[in-house]
């Protein structure tokens, strides 16, 4: 029996909700062979602005959660990804034109990466922080704290799920909130990840996913005064030097584009890239 095809029109993921683009625009997501897969929302600068507002208001709650709690929440995402494994494999197969085995490997690797980063949540402070020796009767402690709202241009090449996870997970570990511009040609993994996040324990607004054109959206994020850091990992094809200059106007932390097979490889340095070291002096009791 022939069944009626159901062409999906996906929406954005902002502030824990799934709004349509304010602009009302959508674009077609095509398979590797050029067949129609779905419609995705084409986010505008105003959607990005809304996403930044959502990320800002979610920041105090997420950064203020205990490190142990953040680790648990992130680990729970890995669990949910595992449960939706078949869907991700399917989407990666059709979007990227790879076979099931390759897609499966990518999903497994993405899940492993979540778990790896989740484990760091209550450990990175011990590694990066320090009790500094000073010549006086003082405790001198350095502690990393989250930078704030991090805007990310997700990797735009193959391995859409792994690239996205590699970019957002390290920023979340430290307690930052994230606005991420998804892979433009293969956004299905990002959209499905948004659905996973919405049903997980991650508070609304901690991760905001905007689909659409990075070329159009990135300059607004780079110049936005309420964004504290900019991860250009997937901005290799954009005029990213201009984006860096624009980001410097409001003193953002910036990570440069990365390409190749080991782009955004898991590393403690990716977590620490979006932290600020706070040093406090405190008198020692002298008895």
């Amino acid at each position: 029996m022939n069944r009626l095809a159901i062409p999906k029109t996906y929406k954005l993921y902002i502030g824990g909700k799934f709004p349509r683009s304010e602009s009302g625009r959508v674009y077609e997501v095509l398979s590797h062979q050029g067949d129609f897969l779905a419609n995705a929302a084409k986010g505008s600068r105003k959607d990005t602005r809304d996403a930044v507002v959502a990320a800002r208001s979610a920041l105090s709650g997420w950064a203020g959660a205990t490190a142990y709690n953040r680790g648990q929440v992130l680990y729970r995402i890995a669990e949910l990804l595992e449960g939706r494994r078949a869907q991700f494999v399917d989407e990666i197969e059709s979007c990227e034109g790879v076979n099931a085995a390759v897609a499966g490997t990518q999903v497994d690797e993405a899940i492993d990466r979540w778990v790896w980063y989740a484990g760091w949540a209550d450990k990175y402070v011990q590694v990066a922080g320090n009790a500094n020796p000073v010549s006086g009767p003082f405790f001198n402690l350095s502690v990393p704290e989250p930078t704030g709202v991090v805007a990310i241009i997700a990797p735009q090449g193959s391995e859409s799920l792994l690239g996205l996870v590699s970019a957002i997970a390290p920023a979340l570990v430290a307690g930052n909130t994230v606005v991420v511009v998804a892979n433009e040609l293969a956004p299905l993994s990002a959209i499905s990840l948004g659905e996973v996040l919405a049903t997980s324990d991650v508070p609304g607004g901690v991760v905001n996913i905007v689909t659409g054109s990075p070329t159009e959206i990135a300059p607004w994020l780079a110049s936005h005064a309420d964004v504290n850091a900019l991860d250009l990992v997937g901005a290799g094809a954009l005029d990213w030097v201009e984006l860096q200059i624009s980001a410097a106007d409001t003193l953002k932390r910036v990570l440069p584009p990365e390409t190749g097979a080991d782009a955004a490889a898991p590393a403690l340095s990716r977590i620490l890239a979006f932290t600020e070291l706070k040093t406090v002096w405190h008198t020692k009791a002298i008895l």
């Binding site: 602005r49 930044v52 800002r56 607004w220 110049s223 936005h224 005064a225 309420d226 964004v227 624009s246």
Partner: protein, 342 residues
Amino acid sequence: MTHSPLATYQPEQRALALIGGEATDANLRRYLHGIPGIDAVGLEARAADLGTRSIKTSSKRWAIDTIIGLIDLTTLEGADTPGKVRSLVAKALVPDPGDPGCPRVAAVCVYGDMVGAAVTALGSTHAAGGTDGTGVQGVRVAAVATAFPSGRASIAIKLADVRDAVAAGADEIDMVIDRGAFLAGRFGQVYDEIVAVKEACRRADGSFAHLKVILETGELNTYDNVRRASWLAILAGGDFIKTSTGKVAPAATLPVTLSMLEVVRDWHRLTGVRIGVKPAGGIRTSKDAIKYLVTVAETVGEEWLTPHLFRFGASSLLNDVLLQRQKMTTGHYSGPDYVTID
């Protein structure tokens, strides 16, 4: 348009002529209940429709500066101190220190005991409706009075509250009506109180402080009551009708403000006198505020968009408007780090 003979009457005579006798409960009830009722669905649909207008670029720029010039920058907290009022005044005078071209707000609105602090802090920039020494529009001082926000005190205390604030230099008095009396149908009492408060607004030199009458629409329950309270306040001599204290939810909403503007429009047609409207509380974004501007312009006309006839009672609205203004000036989005925390 020609006005009826009412336009030539003195205000008190006019009210009595309209009511058709003394301002007793019975006469007022007959008059106020004779006013046509409100089509609530139609009113809300009209307000929602007015909220869909798209205001772009140069119009938006104008709207944003107009909004700033119409704001009663307000602090009404139990924790207010003279220091907080001073910083409020500083913000009222220079809303955006990064842009000297940013207009001043219309007034600061404080509790009666803070009027002295506000007047001192304003100094030469304090101007009762006029301009200061440099020819720039001065900032006025508004005081809430009559046992704000509940209004539950004896009339003697309410009037003393008003006289205190006026003596301390308040240019405008925001009084609350006795909602309990209004809802119980004791219109005469509400009327007499407004008249008495108006009299208490008289300064030593015989001039009057501007009287804003707060209806507290959130407690009036129906649009019909809002319309009746608006008529009552205007009949009794209020210069402004104000939606809310900001202490009761829901505070100002667009339909409520629209219904009050309609009363003001009808009063102007009837008598030729212009009454002001002040929505207060719950207006936090420039987008909301622009909807109110549209509603005013479409209902009573653009000539109402002056500080003498329209105000926003707000505290957090100003910051959002400033962020929009910075966005329009610099071309990129601004953030809360670039406006003052208050």
